[in-house]
């Protein structure tokens, strides 16, 4: 397994405790790569790795710099203001903008997407790993991959022109029976609401949740399942007793990866939603907005200062997705070490 160490270990001295590891590494690497070709190649490949880190750092740095330019002149509170007016048309040229509406819209649409997508994705993953006839499993996995390959603009087009017109019936039904909650009241009109966006996002994040969950389901030790079956458990009881408990943390991180996608989806949301900068209690009525959608919709007519304001909101989105994705990856990484999958 260990190629680099096998080339260096015969000559490498026993570990020296008086020297810090950081001082040892370059020396040892240099000994392993004495030939100029080796040194150049190692330098190139390590440089590429470092370049990736530099790009990540640069993204954070440049976005922060431009965002700071915008925020220093903002007369509203960036977190709590319900307006987006960086040009200051209503306030005598004084920029007045905040992300409260965007936070609301982004969170609501992503939650709707997760609520719909996670159960369905778990179902499909179980279908592929435990229920489908063996011959069907591979083609079905391929179909799910195709779902991931469709570009988001095509989802947007389809969502706006095919799905949305078909949702009026469902929404009026929801309004009839659950309208009293306030969340599901529907005043008619084109259903280009956060709910429609949520449904579309659910379809778009299905593949990633399904694929990661399926991987985890397939890692469940066969012995656990056979033990349950031998006790006379039905297939469902086997899954509930041995598969789901084992896979719980994997499914959670899969959902978080899906959440990361849903938070940052731009063009499908911009196509389907008819945005307005208000917070609407009903998820069925049009209006609202998300971070990414707001950037795409407002970008064309924005001035340079307006673009900086949009960059400020993009920075918030960047930080949120970074946290969500980082947490998901940490959960997966921790699982890999402790799971008895290879036992």
């Amino acid at each position: 397994m260990d190629i680099p160490s096998s080339t260096t270990s015969p000559t490498s001295p026993p570990p020296r405790h008086d020297v810090k590891p950081s001082q040892v590494t370059p020396k040892r690497a240099a000994r392993g790569a004495t030939r100029p070709g080796d040194r150049i190649f190692l330098g190139l490949s390590r440089g590429s790795g470092i370049a990736l880190l530099v790009i990540m750092a640069a993204i954070a740095a440049f976005l922060t710099y431009r965002a700071a330019l915008a925020l220093s002149d903002n007369t509203g509170n960036f977190l709590t203001t319900f307006e987006w007016d960086p040009a200051g048309t209503a306030t005598n040229g004084k920029p007045y903008f905040g992300i409260a509406v965007l936070v609301f819209g982004t969170v609501v649409s992503s939650i709707i997407a997760l609520v719909i997508a996670v159960p369905i994705a778990i179902g499909i993953a179980l279908f592929i790993s435990h229920y489908a006839p063996r011959r069907l499993a591979t083609p079905i996995a391929f179909v799910i991959d195709l779902l991931a390959a469709v570009p988001s603009i095509v989802y947007g087009l389809w969502g706006a022109l095919v799905v949305a017109p078909n949702l009026t019936g469902l929404y009026s039904w929801l309004d009839d029976y659950f309208g009293w909650t306030g969340i599901f009241s529907y005043q008619g009109g084109a259903p280009r609401s956060l709910m429609t966006v949520g449904i579309l996002l659910a379809i778009m994040i299905l593949p990633i949740i399904t694929n990661v969950s399926r991987e985890v389901f397939l890692q469940v030790p066969k012995m656990h399942e056979e033990a349950a079956l031998a006790l006379g458990a039905t297939r469902w009881e086997t899954i509930r007793m041995s598969v789901l408990p084992f896979a719980r943390s994997g499914v959670i991180s899969a959902s978080m990866l899906g959440l990361g996608r849903a938070l940052g989806e731009t063009i499908a949301v911009a196509t389907v939603l008819s945005p307005s900068f208000v917070i609407n209690a009903s998820v069925l009525d049009f209006g609202g907005g998300t971070f990414a959608q707001n950037i795409a919709s407002k970008f064309n007519e924005a001035t340079e200062y307006g673009r900086d304001a949009l960059i400020a909101s993009g920075l918030v989105l960047f930080v949120i997705t970074l946290l969500v994705n980082g947490a998901a990856r940490l959960i997966i990484a921790r699982r890999k070490e402790y799971s008895g999958a290879n036992a």
Partner: protein, 350 residues
Amino acid sequence: MSTTTIAKPASLRGARLPRWTPAVVALGSAAVAVAIGTVAGLDSRIQWGLIAAVLFIVASYAVAVAVEGGRQAKDRLATSLVWVTFLLAVVPLASLVFETVERGSTVFNGYFLTHSMGVVADDEPGGGIYHAILGTLEQVLLASVIAVPIGMLTAIYLVEYGRGKLAKVVTFFVDVMTGIPSIVAGLFVLSFWILILGFDFSGWAGAMALAILMMPVVVRSTEEMLKLVPNELREASLALGIPKWRTILKVVLPTAIGGITTGVMLAVARIAGETAPVLLLVWVNPMINTNPFEGSQASLPLYIYQQYAAGNQAGYDRAWAAALALIGFIMILNLAARGVARWKAPKTGR
């Protein structure tokens, strides 16, 4: 044969429903749902489907409770739920492909592929996507030229050299980078290339953002493939006194090249459909601009977005036709990638 059996052998297992029950229940609930839909005058097909799904789940549970008892019924409930979720995923894909092909084929022809929007107003029919195809190809090509070498070298570093802290950090950030929203990559290039360095909108600016999105995908897939290369190959080469870098270039990479190509093609398919960074960085151009380094360009996803935003029938037709072209391009790339993977699969067996 067993006509002389005295005790009923089935008595040990309890009553079971025949194998065809789910199929019959499914057909029955579909029929009832259609009936309800027609009688109640529901015009949305989505409602019909949801009613059928609920009916199917409830009916198969009820039948199973009556015949087989509680535990088996729960098992059946889970099975039917799992089947329904699968159908719920297939239906959107089928609808999307069907609608795109049907609505897209109205104006999709040779003229559409070979003409630009140069002299066509937004609301009149005609025009085409030649300029957009050109822009997409150039931007994707430039993005690949940046992302593929960096991505592959990073993967080589992680698999062949990477020990210690730097490799761990790089691995983690590659994972995190996969999740960067495309619009954020666009904003980054906007802030440093256009707002700070003062360059103009161009295909090249878009390509840089696309490269950022492409890199982690290339790293991941190359890494997976390099890990599949058997260690005996490396050891054999090193034992002959071949320098490590030549071992990697001449032994490891050729063995894994099929899988790496697949990964790169899938990455290209992914970025070819990205709209958000292109929207921010390439701007809009209805004319043919063959130079990606100067002046705004067009691109297929952006073209679809604009034609949709124009909000008239001629625009919608063009948007669907362009969507058909884009999906076709991406599906062909996907299928070709899988073909390459099968054709050049690393021969790990003995």
